[in-house]
């Protein structure tokens, strides 16, 4: 496992560097620049600050979600698949290292969000306390990956990406239709929406919503584990979809 993880880091170092740079650049561009411009008159606007930090946090996880397929693709070689299965690590070790790397990246995003919030607050002049929202996004990312990864393992990254794109398009279409024709009164105005998030951060939330969030977080971790077990089963079946 240690060796495979080291291999993952060496093999994906360029990808990891690009992802890291993208996260840092976008965070600074969106979370700090608007607050140091001379013309900016937003320093007192807590809702705006929170909106930017939330957006940056979502964006960082989204970058990871989009790039993580490359970790799987890097090993899509028939020879490698049969070789690793024949070693004591077996397919389980191979899949384990991939799943572990994704959790490590997920943690890195969480840590970066935590540190960045401190830095951004220096420029913004207030404290936002977005870490619990970011931790929930961490679980959301695990949940989405739990569905995404077995497809990539079973049908190769090409097939998996197709499923990935179709799922995203369906979700975007549903969201689009809802935002065009659905009842938006539940969200209220933008200020009301972020006011709800503020209340959530201050612990002022209903019993039902806190129960749902707790269940969701644990269910996401459970789904990720089940997904890992499924991927181990699918690994050799997916080899026939490899180009080389």
């Amino acid at each position: 496992m240690k060796g495979l993880l080291y291999k993952e880091l060496v093999q994906n170092k360029a990808m990891l560097a690009v992802m890291g740079f993208a996260c840092v650049f976008l965070s600074v561009a969106l979370g700090i620049f608007p607050f140091i411009s001379d013309e900016a008159d937003v320093s007192d606007d807590a809702v705006f600050m929170m909106m930017m930090l939330l957006f940056v946090s979502i964006l960082n996880y989204f970058i990871l979600f989009c790039f993580q397929g490359n970790f799987i693709q890097a090993d899509e070689l028939k020879k490698w698949a049969y070789f690793i299965t024949s070693t004591p690590e077996t397919a389980e070790g191979q899949i384990r290292s991939k799943y572990f790397l994704i959790v490590v990246c997920d943690m890195a995003v969480l840590i970066w969000t935590y540190v960045f919030e401190y830095i951004a607050n220096i420029f913004q002049g207030s404290q936002t306390g977005m870490i619990s929202v970011s931790a929930l996004l961490f679980f959301l990312h695990l949940f989405l990956s739990a569905f995404d990864l077995p497809f990539m393992i079973r049908f190769g990254t090409k097939g998996g990406n197709m499923a990935h794109t179709i799922t995203l398009l369906i979700l975007v279409a549903i969201a689009g239709i809802y935002f065009l024709f659905g009842d938006l009164s539940v969200f209220g105005s933008t200020e009301e929406f972020f006011d709800k998030i503020m209340k959530f951060l201050n612990g002022e939330n209903s019993d039902g919503s806190i129960l749902l969030l707790g269940l969701f977080a644990w269910a996401s971790a459970g789904c990720y584990y089940v997904s890992y077990k499924l991927s181990c089963r699918f690994y050799l079946k997916g080899v026939e979809y490899y180009a080389k």
């Binding site: 401190y118 931790a135 039902g208 919503s209 129960l211 977080a217």
Partner: protein, 288 residues
Amino acid sequence: MQNKKLEWKRVILFFILSYLIAYIPEFILSYQLGNIENWTDPKLAVLLLFITYSPALAVVLTRVITKEGWKDSYLHLNDKGNLKYYLLSVFYLTITGIGFGMIINLMTGKSILQGFSLMRFTGTYLYTTALSVPLGFVTFGEELGWRGYLYPKLEKLIGMPLTIIIGGIVWGLWHAPLTAKGHNFGTDYPGFPYTGMLLMSIYCIATGAFLMWLVKKTNSVWISSIAHSVNNNAISAIGFTIAPEIQEGEVTQIQSAVVLMSFQFVICMIFMIFLIKSNKNQNLPAES
């Protein structure tokens, strides 16, 4: 002999560094801002990051300065076959929260579960414990220093019983500048701040024993980081779902801290005994 001397040197160097790196920013914050409730200035709050990671920085510096290398750094996850310990690290200390809530209810003349809502309790329990796992990175800095370096070194030098006591005192006094500014206990109690420092040390002795037991079972500091994170993020929240009708001012900060810490001391005592016993068994000569 030579080896023992070197190990002592390392322990002392680590001790000095971990205290210095934490105390300097803490004194700056104390000087600039006064009591802990004022420590919300975002420009200075970034110093808190250094404080929480000071034991980890001290480990790195000590290992580099004394050319120790990274052997026995307890950085492996070692999760295979250790799931039960990982689950214990997430859920065990939550017993403190439940006990704390019940005692607080009784202390204020309420029935043991007055105002209790199962939905609220379950939700808070699941939510706070789940979030504590990824937030373990915040407490990782402390764990790498205390359980990943100081405790194992002390164990080799002075044995387990003394390690639990001295390690706990070192860990507790490391919080002293914060305690002196009202962290955990407030400022309104007899013998302030020395009583607070003493209580913190006793609490750290017991909690440290539980965390060390976890580390010894898995050879990983990640597990104690999770348990420490649960301790920081979940216990009080769970406690207040058991006692939701407690009004502000009904119980003072020192009273609630003493109840919580006493309860935790009791539940961690078991692990203190386990640790000492297992250590004694290791020292016994093999039967022929």
